[in-house]
C-alpha cells in the first residue's frame, strides 16, 4: 500500500535532514528527499494528523542514511544503485540461502532484486520497490523482511496447490487410524476447545513464544533473537507458559467437558498419540515451518 503524503515536512527540516543523511553523496535533490520524508511521515501517522513536534520527533528517529540511499535508488541515481548492488545484493543472497540452504530461494532474491530496481514501468518511468522503504528500520532489515514475506507466501501458495494423496496411496493408507477409539472424537473436540481457550487467555508475548517454538519450530536461541530475550529467559517463560496451559486445560476439561482425572489423562494421551485430522482451515494455512534441528537437538 502506498500512502499519499499528507503531512508536510518543512523545507528547512528537509534541508537539515538532507544534510544529515548524506543524500548529497547520491546527488539526490532535496525535493526528492523531502518527498521521501513526507511519504514516511504519512505512513507513520496513518489516520492521524501529526503536529510539527510529532513530525520532528518522528523524522529524528528514522534511519536517514538508508532512506536517502533508497530514495536515490528509486530515483535512478546510478551511484546510489552501484552502492546498493555492492552492499545489499549480498545481503539478499545470504538471506535467501538462510531460508533454503540449497539455494532454492535464490530465485526469490533475484526477483526481488529486479523489483527493487524497478523493471516494471508505470506511466513511462520505472517504479522501484524501494519507494516503500520508509526508513523506520535499517534497510537490511527491511530487505530481509520483504524476502521473508515473499518466501512465506510462496510456500503457503505451494501448500495449497499440493495434491492430496490418492486414497490408495501408501501414505494415505498409513495415515489412517489403526484402532478406532469410540471416545477419540470426543477427546479431540474437548482438547481443541480447552487448548484454544487456554491459548486465548495467554499474554500476546507468551503466545508468540509458544507458537514460535511449537509451530514455527524456532530454536530457543532464534526466539531469543526475535524477541530480544536471552535464551534462558525464553526457556523459563516457555516452562511457565506450559504450566499455565496445563492447569487451564485440565480445569476446562473437568468443568466444561466433565472429565475426571483418569479421563483427562486418557484424553491427553490420546491427543499426544495422534492429534487427529486437521480441519480445513489448518489444511489450507497451517504448516509447520521447516525444522532446522530435531527436538532432541534443541535446547529446552
Amino acid at each position: 500500500m502506498h500512502l499519499t503524503a499528507t503531512a508536510q515536512v518543512t523545507p528547512a527540516l528537509a534541508e537539515r535532514l538532507h544534510g544529515e543523511s548524506g543524500a548529497a553523496r547520491w546527488t539526490l535533490p532535496v525535493e526528492a528527499f523531502q518527498a521521501a520524508l513526507e511519504a514516511s511521515v504519512a505512513y507513520g501517522f496513518t489516520g492521524r494528523t501529526p503536529s510539527a513536534a510529532d513530525i520532528d520527533q518522528y523524522v529524528g528517529s528514522l534511519h536517514l542514511e538508508d532512506l536517502a540511499l533508497a530514495a536515490a535508488c528509486a530515483a535512478g541515481q546510478e551511484a546510489a544503485w552501484d552502492h546498493f548492488v555492492l552492499e545489499y545484493r549480498p545481503v539478499l543472497y545470504r538471506a535467501a540461502d538462510a531460508l533454503e540452504p540449497g539455494g532454492g530461494a535464490r530465485d526469490l532474491a533475484d526477483a526481488l532484486y529486479a523489483d527493487l530496481f524497478g523493471l516494471e514501468t508505470t506511466g513511462g518511468g520505472r517504479q522501484s520497490l524501494l519507494r516503500y522503504f520508509h526508513g523506520r528500520s535499517r534497510l537490511t532489515s527491511w530487505l530481509r523482511a520483504v524476502l521473508s514475506q515473499r518466501y512465506v507466501d510462496r510456500v503457503r501458495a505451494a501448500r495449497r496447490l499440493d495434491a492430496l494423496p490418492e486414497d490408495d496411496a501408501p501414505s494415505a493408507v498409513a495415515a489412517g487410524p489403526i484402532a478406532p477409539d469410540p471416545e477419540r472424537p470426543r477427546h479431540l473436540a474437548a482438547m481443541r476447545d480447552a487448548l484454544a481457550a487456554a491459548l486465548a487467555a495467554l499474554a500476546p508475548r507468551d503466545r508468540l513464544r509458544l507458537t514460535s517454538y511449537y509451530v514455527q519450530r524456532l530454536t530457543l536461541a532464534e526466539i531469543g533473537r526475535a524477541l530480544r530475550e536471552h535464551e534462558a529467559t525464553v526457556s523459563r517463560h516457555l516452562a511457565r507458559t506450559r504450566r499455565l496451559i496445563r492447569d487451564a486445560v485440565e480445569r476446562r476439561l473437568a468443568a466444561r467437558h466433565g472429565l475426571d482425572e483418569a479421563a483427562r489423562a486418557e484424553c491427553i494421551r490420546s491427543v499426544i498419540a495422534d492429534a487427529g485430522p486437521l480441519d480445513l482451515e489448518a489444511l489450507l494455512g497451517a504448516e509447520p515451518g521447516p525444522r532446522k534441528n530435531e527436538p532432541a537437538a534443541r535446547s529446552r
Binding site: 528500520s137 527491511w142 482438547m191 500476546p204 514460535s212 509451530v215 523459563r236 496451559i245
Partner: protein
C-alpha cells in the same frame, strides 16, 4: 519433583502434537515488511508495537514471516554466545576491580577496629524451616510480604554473615564504602558455592570477576519461582537463591560492572558464627544499633537474576536491622530509598550515570562521588519496594507498614529510583516506565521502544535516565513525555 517433570514433559508432548493444527483467529491486519522490520528493531512507537505483537501472536502467516525473518538474521558468533552482561565494555572491569579491592581492604580495616555492636547486620530470612522442601519455599514466596515476627520456637532468621560483613558501617567520620554485596557466604549448590569461593578468594582481577558471575549464571534454575533445595550453611539451612546479585556500589558509578562485582568482596564468613547464643546476641545488638549506613539504592535488577529471591533485604540509612528484617520477609525483590542526590551522574546511587567514568578517572570520580554521598542527609522518610509479583509498595515509617501503589495493570519491573519522598520511577521489561509523583499511584509513561529496561536514575519527577538491556541510554526531561537517545 519427578511428577512435576513428567507433567511438564506430557504438556510439552501435547503442545507439540496439538498446537500446529489448532486454528486461530488473527487480531488485526497483517504486518507489512516495514512494520515487521521496525518491530524487530524495537523502533515502533509503543502502541504500534503492542498492536503488532498482538497480531503476531495470533496470525499464522505473520508468525511464519517472523520465523523466516529470524532465520535470515546474520548471527555474529561471539556476540551470540556471550550473554549481554558479559558483553559490557571490559574497560569497566579495571576500575571496578580496583574499587572492589579498595572496598575489601576498607572492610577488613573497619572490622578490625570496631566492636561488633557497631556493625549493621543484614539478614536473609528463611521463611520455612530447614526440613521444608522446595514447595515450602515456594509457599514462602507466595506468602504475604507483611509476615509476622517469628513465633516462639520457630526458626530464627539466619544471619547472612557474609552479607553483613560486606556492609561497611559508615560512621560519620568514616569514608563510605565502595561496594556492597548481598552474596550469601555459604549458600548455594556446590558448583556455585565452590566457584564463588574460589573466585572470591582471589578475585580482584576483571577476569575472575567475570568468571565468578558467569559460574553463578550457568547454575541458575530455569523455572520461574522455583527455588533450589536448601543447602546447609553450617549452622542453619539457608534457602538457595539463584543468580545472587550484587548491588551497584553506593558511591561508585559503575552500572555495567555491577553483576560482576559480586565475588570480589564477599568472604565466606559462616565459620565466624559459632553458637546460637552468640548469633542471637549479635543479632540483638544489631537490631538495637542506630548506626547509620551509607544509603543503598537498587538500580539494576534484572528479574531473571532476582526472581528466585525469597527475601532480599537492603539496609538503608536511618534503618535498624529490625526494620529491615520485617520489611524483607516475603517476596521482596527490591527496596528503594527516597533520597535526593547532589548531582546527576556523580554520586548516583547504583550508578546509572549519564556519562560513565572511564579509565583511570573512574577511581577519582568514584572517590569524589563517595565524598559527596557522605555529605548527604541520612534522614529518610519514604521507602519503596518492588515485590516479586510486580506490586510496588511504599512506606513512610521506615518499613513498619507498607501500602501498595495503584497500577492499572501488572508489569514486570526491574529497577527503580526515587529522587524524593513522593516521587519514584520504575522501569521494567518491554519498555515499561512507571512514575509516581504522589506516592499513591503509578502512571505508565510512553517509551519509544519495547526494549527491556534494566536501570533508571531519576533526578526529579521530570528528569530521569533509563538504560536498556543492550546498553542504550534514554533521557527525558519532561516527565517521560519525550525521550532522547544518548
Amino acid at each position: 519433583v519427578s511428577s512435576e517433570h513428567e507433567r511438564d514433559q506430557t504438556t510439552d508432548a501435547l503442545l507439540r502434537a496439538a498446537l500446529p493444527g489448532l486454528p486461530g483467529q488473527a487480531a488485526g491486519a497483517c504486518l507489512d515488511a516495514g512494520t515487521l522490520a521496525a518491530w524487530s528493531e524495537r523502533t515502533l512507537p509503543q502502541s504500534e508495537a503492542e498492536r503488532a505483537e498482538l497480531h503476531l501472536a495470533t496470525c499464522e502467516r505473520c508468525q511464519q514471516m517472523l520465523a523466516a525473518f529470524t532465520r535470515t538474521e546474520p548471527v555474529a558468533p561471539a556476540a551470540a554466545a556471550v550473554p549481554f552482561w558479559q558483553r559490557w565494555p571490559r574497560r569497566w572491569l579495571v576500575p571496578a576491580g580496583a574499587l572492589a579491592a579498595a572496598a575489601f581492604v576498607l572492610v577488613v580495616v573497619t572490622r578490625e577496629g570496631e566492636p561488633p555492636a557497631e556493625r549493621q547486620m543484614a539478614r536473609l530470612e528463611a521463611p520455612a524451616p530447614p526440613s521444608t522442601g522446595a514447595r515450602g519455599q515456594e509457599a514462602g514466596l507466595a506468602a504475604p510480604s507483611h509476615a509476622p515476627e517469628p513465633r516462639p520456637g520457630a526458626q530464627p532468621p539466619v544471619e547472612a554473615v557474609g552479607l553483613a560483613d560486606q556492609i561497611t558501617a559508615a560512621a560519620p567520620a568514616t569514608p563510605p564504602p565502595a561496594t556492597l554485596s548481598r552474596q550469601p557466604a555459604v549458600s548455594g549448590p556446590p558448583a556455585v558455592r565452590e566457584a564463588g569461593r574460589e573466585d572470591r578468594a582471589r578475585s580482584t582481577s576483571g577476569r575472575n570477576l567475570r568468571d565468578g558471575a558467569r559460574s553463578i549464571e550457568l547454575n541458575k534454575p530455569e523455572t520461574d519461582g522455583a527455588t533450589r533445595p536448601t543447602v546447609s550453611a553450617g549452622v542453619r539451612s539457608v534457602p538457595y537463591v539463584a543468580g545472587v546479585p550484587t548491588l551497584p556500589t553506593s558511591t561508585a558509578d559503575t552500572p555495567t560492572a555491577a553483576p560482576a562485582e559480586a565475588p570480589a568482596t564477599v568472604k565466606p564468613a559462616a565459620p565466624k558464627v559459632t553458637t546460637e547464643s552468640e548469633r542471637m546476641a549479635r543479632a540483638e545488638a544489631a537490631d538495637q544499633s542506630t548506626t547509620k549506613l551509607d544509603s543503598v539504592q537498587i538500580t539494576n535488577m534484572p528479574l531473571d537474576k532476582y526472581r528466585n529471591y525469597q527475601a532480599l533485604v537492603v539496609l538503608v540509612p536511618g534503618e535498624s536491622a529490625a526494620a529491615a528484617k520485617t520489611a524483607g520477609t516475603g517476596a521482596v525483590i527490591a527496596e528503594i530509598v527516597s533520597e535526593p542526590r547532589p548531582a546527576f551522574g556523580r554520586a548516583g546511587r547504583g550508578g546509572a550515570g549519564k556519562v560513565p567514568a572511564r579509565g583511570p578517572a573512574a577511581a577519582a570520580e568514584a572517590a569524589q562521588a563517595a565524598s559527596d554521598a557522605a555529605k548527604l542527609p541520612s534522614t529518610i522518610a519514604a521507602r519503596w519496594r518492588i515485590l516479586a509479583n510486580g506490586t510496588v509498595e511504599r512506606s513512610v515509617n521506615a518499613g513498619a507498614t507498607w501500602h501498595p501503589l495503584a497500577l492499572d495493570a501488572p508489569v514486570a519491573l526491574t529497577a527503580g529510583s526515587s529522587p524524593s519522598d513522593e516521587v519514584a520511577w520504575f522501569v521494567g521489561l518491554g519498555g515499561v516506565v512507571l512514575l509516581s509523583t504522589d506516592g499513591e499511584r503509578l502512571d505508565r509513561l510512553s517509551f519509544p521502544n519495547t526494549s527491556n529496561l534494566v536501570e533508571v536514575v531519576a533526578v526529579t519527577d521530570r528528569a530521569a535516565t533509563v538504560r536498556t538491556e543492550d546498553g542504550r541510554t534514554f533521557v527525558t526531561g519532561d516527565g517521560g513525555r519525550t525521550w532522547s537517545a544518548q
